[in-house]
Amino acid sequence: MKIKSNINNHDDDLALWQDLRDGNEKSFSIIFEKYYPHLIRYGNSFSPFTEKVQDCVQDVFADLWLYRSSLNETVFVKAYLLSSVRKRMTRLQERDYIFNKSTSLKSIDFLTDFSIEHDLIADETTAYNVANMNNLINSLPARQKEALFLRYHHGLGIDEIADTLQVNYQSANNLLYRAVLNLRKGWKEKLLLILALSTILF
């Protein structure tokens, strides 16, 4: 089975996690190196201030080490880290809001746009379709987009998404469901339009 490598990866992570809990600095570094870029990427999707994001991600790791003895034994490491970064970013934003009134909202928004894998597209029809789909995805509400990102880019499960977004299971499930539904609907309309146009033209 193909999923093997993913499971192995998961096992590797767990082994590293155990060692980290026992105070192994090397395991800490390996986890750091492995996930730091992903976490920076995720953090950057909430804030344009890259230095703040770096600071925040490093704080997450610092706390991970300092409070290692109170960490859970089994955990989906990537999901845990993504969720920690998001929670910390949220707290920072709230603090900024209280002290500086610099932001209008207390929740943070996922601002990253999905892009197109141009390299894998050979023909014009596909290119056109993918561009349409990409437009649809990027016009989804921020939270739906974020749910898609966590689900399909990082492979998080529903309960991990719920934990990361700090909502209950049902809401997380709904977010994903609505995202897919919206895309479906938009896609069908586009297809019909294309169909209609082509019948007019020929």
Binding site: M1, K2, I3, N6, S29, F32, E33, Y36, P37, H38, I40, R41, N44, Q54, V57, Q58, D59, F61, A62, D63, W65, L66, T112, F114, S115, I116, E117, L120, I121, T126, N129, V130, A131, M133, N134, L136, I137, L148, F149, R151, Y152, H153, G155, L176, V180, L183, R184
Partner: protein, 371 residues
């Protein structure tokens, strides 16, 4: 895991890791392709799922190894700061220090650290060459290594148009093609670097304990394993020097050098000495090599003479049609260019019918004379 024969929705495909890998990286170890072709209805679904994945790419910004290393270092600093704050609040500090046991434990730790520091220092001198090998081992780009075993400098042209004049008994490792947002090469020994300008892709030279970062400039690095110092001498442009993380614990600063400035890293003390005027430093000025002494500012100079200067500087042979170029004169400044760039500029100035070809240290210029 659900059997894929029961897949009915796009989501079934999207959440399947193996399927995603097949679409994005063409890794098909579960025979998705064959499976798709088995059933036309299925093929339609697969095609749509593929469309979704292609439209949902996230461009990962690459974070360089150097950045990650700095981030880890930073994080350890944070941990130490936080830990000491936690200790302060947890314990009444005066009580803490009155405790004899704690005091002697602290003393043991301090002496232990001093001891291991001295030990590490000795270690440094006795086996310093592994640093180069370790650095190479860390790089996964697939490096080419060139060693100069001859008795004269050797020219190396890099894929980005930069050139390196490698001194005897020195070696340079570099990727065939520079990929990613950085250009990285590894030096053991001595070389004169002329780097083609590209502000978007900084150029790093890892020379044992020292990392030199530039955007486009020329400079010399002298980092032999068996010598007490590492030296960097800047000819043009601006150069930044960071210590590699093996010594970063001792010195975290970034040092900037301007033309005619130099830096000496004393391995014994892990110390940086900046030399602001290289002419006053006797060892540096006496060992200064030919290429830095030659001027590449030419005003109305016969092309033959310009090419002669280049031959001297880079220790190359240049073959050119002497008769056809005898009346050609050029006014140009080539100080800041790597060798290929210098040749390109000369050829362009001579006219459209001039071109050059380079084969090792043999350069052939073909020309019909100047316009």
């Amino acid at each position: 895991m659900q059997d894929r024969n029961n897949f009915t929705d796009i989501e079934d495909f999207l959440s399947n890791e193996s399927f995603r890998r097949w679409v994005r990286f063409q890794v098909d170890d579960e025979k998705w392709e064959d499976w798709t072709l088995e059933d036309p209805q299925r093929a339609k679904l697969v095609e749509e799922a593929r469309l979704w994945i292609l439209a949902m790419n996230i461009s990962e910004n690459s974070v360089s190894k150097l950045e990650i290393e700095r981030a880890i270092e930073n994080t350890w600093n944070k941990i130490n700061n936080k830990a000491s704050k936690l200790a302060e609040t947890a314990e009444d500090s005066s009580y803490f220090w009155k405790n004899n046991w704690v005091r002697s434990a602290a003393a043991v730790i301090v002496f232990g650290m001093l001891g291991s520091w001295f030990y590490q220092q000795n270690d440094f001198l006795s086996n310093s060459s592994p640093i180069y090998n370790e650095l190479i081992a860390e790089n996964l780009e697939g490096l080419v290594e060139q060693t100069n075993n001859s008795n004269k400098p050797q020219i190396i042209n890099l894929s980005d148009g930069s050139s390196v004049l490698l001194q005897p008994n020195s070696k340079l490792s570099y990727p065939k093609i520079f990929i990613g947002k950085e250009r990285k090469v590894y030096l053991s020994g001595e070389g004169f670097f002329e780097i083609s300008k590209n502000p978007k892709k900084p150029f790093f030279v890892f020379a044992n304990e020292i990392v030199t970062k530039v955007l486009g400039t020329s400079f010399r690095i002298r980092a032999y394993d068996n010598q007490p110092n590492i030296e960097i001498i800047v000819r043009t442009g601006k150069v930044k020097i960071i210590s590699n993380n093996t010594v970063a614990k001792f010195n975290k600063d970034e040092i900037e050098l301007l033309p005619n400035e130099a830096l000496r890293f004393v391995r014994k003390n892990l110390e940086f000495n900046k030399i602001t005027d290289i002419t006053t430093d006797t060892t540096l000025s006496s060992s200064n090599n030919t290429i830095e002494k030659l001027s590449f500012n030419f005003s109305d100079t016969p092309v033959a003479q310009i090419l002669k200067t280049i031959e001297q500087a880079y220790l190359v042979d240049i073959d050119f049609p002497i008769e056809k170029l005898k009346n050609c004169h050029l006014t140009t400044s080539l100080n800041d260019q790597p060798l290929p760039e210098k040749l390109k500029i000369i050829c362009r100035s001579l006219g459209n019918n001039t071109s050059y070809e380079m084969n090792g240290n043999q350069i052939t210029i073909s020309s019909e004379g100047c316009d």
